[in-house]
């Protein structure tokens, strides 16, 4: 089967954020990440489109995304001082949503920078 080629792909593993990677992929996995460094190659090749994990877990039990979203919202809503933390390995679009959520919650907001 022919592999799909993605040019000028961006690696988000480290702060270099190299955007000259050529990815060769089928539907399930990336087979090659040309120009990527050893860390970047591992980053691209170790993530697949397989369903390796359950969609969601609530108290250790498998759950649907809808159920988990409702449970997450309820925990956050009930809290007096919720904390939103992390935001490194994610997109700016998700980060903007996180800041908005923390603003709405009246909670704490922090990233890896504070470590």
């Amino acid at each position: 089967m022919d592999l799909k080629v993605i040019d000028h792909a961006t690696c988000t593993f480290c702060g270099c954020v190299c955007d000259d990677i050529q990815l060769h992929a089928d539907d399930e996995r990336i087979h090659q990440a040309k120009k990527a460094c050893v860390l970047g190659k591992a980053w691209f090749l170790n993530h697949t489109a397989e369903r390796k994990y359950p969609d969601a877990l609530i108290d250790g039990k498998e759950a649907t995304v809808d159920e988990a979203i409702a449970a997450a919202a309820e925990h956050l809503y009930q809290a007096d001082m919720p904390l939103v933390y992390g935001m490194s390995n994610t997109t700016c679009e998700a980060q903007r949503e996180c800041v908005e959520m923390a603003d709405h919650l009246g909670g704490l907001l922090d990233s890896h920078t504070s470590l």
């Binding site: 369903r51 925990h75 992390g86 390995n89 700016c92 998700a94 603003d103």
Partner: protein, 319 residues
């Protein structure tokens, strides 16, 4: 003094003939930094590439990055601040003592050579890593190095840049600044952003037990934070969004698997010099993106009665 004198990475590629890495090991942690941005590149101003550049590594041990450097300065652990302060004095021809130099683990000849090379550079740059910013002195060390870079501009062009790790941590920093005014360590509990690292920073909050619900995204504090912080995460309802079931997921009440950024989730990421780059995912994930899940949680929250009650629209002066 405060502030930061810096540049985009292309400026280093085009102009920097004197490159200092301080407390970082790019050879192993940012493997393409040398080849893509700093040492190996040729430019119209530096046509011979590596040969036109001098690299200095300042670190407490001889890492793999030392092999790439022209000069390696082995500073005594915990003495970075003292060394930077001496350099700040020396560039201005202020007196220093032998005892002060000895304390840094370096010789006066090494320091004099370093200073004269800094001043002779056409375009100098300091890249500093966690070996500087996360060791004894912490942000005081970073501030001292940023000041040295600023002061060097009395003699020649000089800039400084932190070696940010952790993927898109720079994006988080940039977005929090435009939406809240502050880069991290924020509390919205009065209905508007306030900033106080040490009070609102996560490790401190967790160790004090000052949160009753933690939402963790794009991070695995269960693997990296001090034990008392992890213990508190296990005690309160913790929610994790991650492409993997992580250490933190295992102690969480809710885990949602999401598509990894740049692999199967589209969007934007900021490089360490705050340049935004588009992501071009190669795969289709069976899982939703972080963006989608957070938006849906936020929408679910908006459907609940507002907890805040009547507040004024604005405070003219904060308390």
């Amino acid at each position: 003094m405060g502030g930061k004198v810096t540049c985009t990475l292309g400026e280093v590629k085009n102009r920097a003939d004197f490159i200092v890495y301080w407390g970082g090991n790019p050879a192993e942690c940012h493997p393409r930094h040398f080849t893509k941005y700093t040492l190996m590149q040729k430019s119209p101003f530096l046509p011979r590439g590596r040969k036109d550049r001098t690299m200095v590594l300042v670190d407490i041990r001889e890492t793999k990055s030392a092999k790439a450097s022209n000069i390696f300065l082995q500073v005594r652990p915990g003495k970075d601040f003292e060394l930077i302060t001496l350099l700040r004095a020396m560039i201005k021809d202020q007196p220093i003592s032998e005892a002060q130099v000895a304390e840094t683990g370096l010789t006066i000849e090494q320091l004099q050579d370093f200073v004269s090379r800094m001043k002779a550079a056409k375009y100098g740059v300091f890249f500093f890593g966690m070996g500087l910013s996360m060791t004894r002195g912490k942000h005081m060390n970073s501030a001292a190095l940023l000041t040295l870079a600023a002061e060097m501009n009395a003699f020649t062009k000089f800039v400084a840049m932190p070696m940010r790790g952790h993927g898109n941590v720079t994006g988080a920093d940039v977005i929090m600044r435009w939406q809240t005014g502050y880069p991290f360590g924020i509390s919205f509990n009065r209905g508007y952003p306030r900033y106080n690292p040490g009070e609102f920073s996560t490790v401190d909050v967790l160790v004090r037990g000052d949160t009753d619900c933690a939402f963790i995204i794009g991070a695995d504090p269960g693997a990296t934070m001090p034990q008392p912080a992890i213990d508190h995460l296990a005690k309160v309802p913790t929610i994790v969004l991650d492409p993997h079931v992580t250490h933190t997921s295992k102690l969480a009440r809710v885990h949602i698997t999401t598509a990894p950024a740049g692999i199967s989730a589209p969007g934007t990421a900021y490089r360490m010099d705050e340049i935004p780059l588009p992501l071009r995912p190669a795969l289709k994930s069976p899982y939703p993106s972080d963006e989608e899940v957070v938006r849906r949680i936020k929408e679910a929250l908006l459907e609940k009665p507002d907890w805040m009650g009547e507040r004024p629209q604005m405070l003219q002066n904060q308390i």
